[in-house]
Amino acid sequence: MNTAAEIELPENDTAVLTVRDLVVRYDMDEASIHAVNGVTFDLAPRETYAIVGESGCGKSTVALSLLGLTPIVGGEIVLDSARLTEMGRAEMARVRGHKIAMIFQEPMTSLNPVLTVGYQLIEAIRLHTSMGKRAAREHAAKMLGRVGMSDAERRLRQYPHELSGGMRQRVMIAMALSCNPAVLVADEPTTALDVTVQAQILALIDQLREEFGTAVVLITHDIGVVAETANRIAVMYAGRIVEEAPTAALFADPRHPYTRGLLASVPRVDRVPDGQPMPTMEGSAPSMRQLPEGCPFRARCSHSTEKCETDPPVRVGEGRMVRCWLYE
């Protein structure tokens, strides 16, 4: 597999997080799952960088890799000039939740059901600070206020099952931000929530990103979610970023055939076709156990030629990147 050192993104000194040629492989009993096959990107301070893609394209693996929770086999991750990929276990544990934090898809199951919200929040704060119990408790209450939960003192005494999904996600966000991390990784933070709550949570993340000066990596399969909040979007397919562009540019002028297909299959109110089926993409994503040679999208692509049987080149320019033979 070509792990693509070819991507020459403009070297960005100010980047808070740099990911280069990240390769992650899960070794199972009989086969290996090539979940991430050379992902490269930079994250600017205070930026929201969205990674979109369908289920199983490796986007959640990228998210977990940023915290060192996956078997990384290649590439490097640099956070605030610290090389995470070279850190030992104990060192990495001090970074997690402190310099880089994460919120998850399932707020209903991401909190320990037998401990109170307060206990878990205080624990998270005390893991990475020297605060005493009382100070940590005050900080916890303050954090709950900042994520928009009223009556913080009572909330601290409640158990997770006494809170709604949206409330639990707020608690998760409060926990993640309690040590003021440089980067917040949000893995499908709204997928499990009601539509009305989704918008609230997204707005909250955006507001807190501003307040805390945190950069956000937003992982989602819902391209509608990112349209409003992301500065830049990366489209992932079969473990690679196939296109990356500023949000407006991506929506206005999608270049990779996969991105176009993705955008075309989003239902929109302003162009309801009478009695016509919704446009969908033919075929399905290749198995991550055995990726085909060349462009992994070629079997579903209407533009594919024999060129596509070799690895597509990466084209960079105008602040965007696309990995496709069409632009050679």
Binding site: L69, A93, R96, A101, M102, T109, E123, A124
Partner: protein, 285 residues
């Protein structure tokens, strides 16, 4: 720790389970009797009075006397304290060791898991009582020996239950979230994994108790328990066998004591399982 609303709900469910409540009553009566009756009963459990041997019920001897003229009720009450002590020590020791080994096995995995679980398999390959007999024969008939023997027999089941439960919780979202917060593995095991395994552990604990009591009764019935004249239920049953046709009281009452105790704990354990395991609940509804 405070009683959480979840615990309150479980208690309410338990109260509505009739069989479990019968178990609670039986167990409570038993515990109260062994604690309180020794203060009330006028007899010494080991004092022989051969002239009054093998009597039926009377005002002085409510349940009659045995072949040496000892008061059967008194002996059953004192025997109850032996049974409960053995039950408690064995359950507690197998709980601690079994949870420790099971948690280590499930959480660490790899070779540790293989070594521990094969050890447990080896112990489970022996019929429980047979293993206990061998161990007591080796250690001698003291309380400590009996407890050690029955504990060794009891550990594997705990270890298995806990391992299975830990394996399941280890993959849960809150454990992943805890790792993402930078918690150390040992802290995660203690704070996030084990507290969520409490259900299966509790059930196994209530089911271990009667097994341990039955084990002690079995050993003493076979003459391997505490040496005479200790009033152990198993020994009383065995001694009463020879006089069963003349004076069945001793055999009936000591047998009944074993039966009621074991049933009480089993009903309580089953009730707890029904309450704690959502699958059995839906089946009943």
């Amino acid at each position: 720790m405070m009683i959480s609303p979840e615990t309150k709900l479980l208690l309410r469910k338990l109260r509505r389970n009739r069989l479990a409540m019968i178990g609670v009553v039986l167990v409570s009566v038993l515990v109260l009797a062994t604690v309180l009756l020794p203060w009330v009963l006028p007899w010494d459990p080991n004092k022989m009075d051969v002239r009054n041997a093998l009597q039926g019920s009377s005002a002085a001897h409510l349940l009659g006397t045995d072949q040496f003229g000892r008061d059967i009720l008194t002996r059953i009450v004192y025997g109850g304290s032996i049974s409960l002590r053995v039950g408690f020590y064995v359950t507690f020791a197998s709980l601690i060791l079994g949870v420790g080994l099971g948690a280590l096995s499930g959480y660490v995995g790899g070779m540790t898991d293989v070594v521990i679980m094969r050890g447990m398999d080896a112990l489970m390959a022996f019929p429980g009582l047979l293993l206990a007999i061998a161990l007591v024969a080796a250690f001698g008939g003291t309380m400590t020996a009996i407890v050690i023997a029955l504990t060794i027999v009891g550990i594997p089941r705990f270890a298995r239950v806990v391992r299975a439960s830990v394996l399941q919780r280890k993959e849960s979202d809150y454990v992943l979230a805890a790792r993402a917060l930078g918690k150390r593995p040992t802290v995660i095991l203690v704070q996030d994994v084990l507290p969520n395994c409490i259900g299966p552990i509790l059930i196994q604990t209530t089911l271990k108790f009667p097994t341990a009591i039955l084990g002690e009764a079995g050993l003493s019935f076979l003459g391997l328990g505490l040496p005479p004249p200790a009033p152990s239920w198993g020994r009383m049953l065995n001694e009463a066998r020879s006089f069963m046709e003349v004076a069945p009281a001793a055999a009936i009452y000591s047998g009944a004591a074993i039966f009621i105790t074991v049933m009480g704990f089993n009903l309580l354990g089953d009730g707890l399982r029904d309450v704690l395991d959502p699958r059995t609940q839906s089946a009943r509804r």
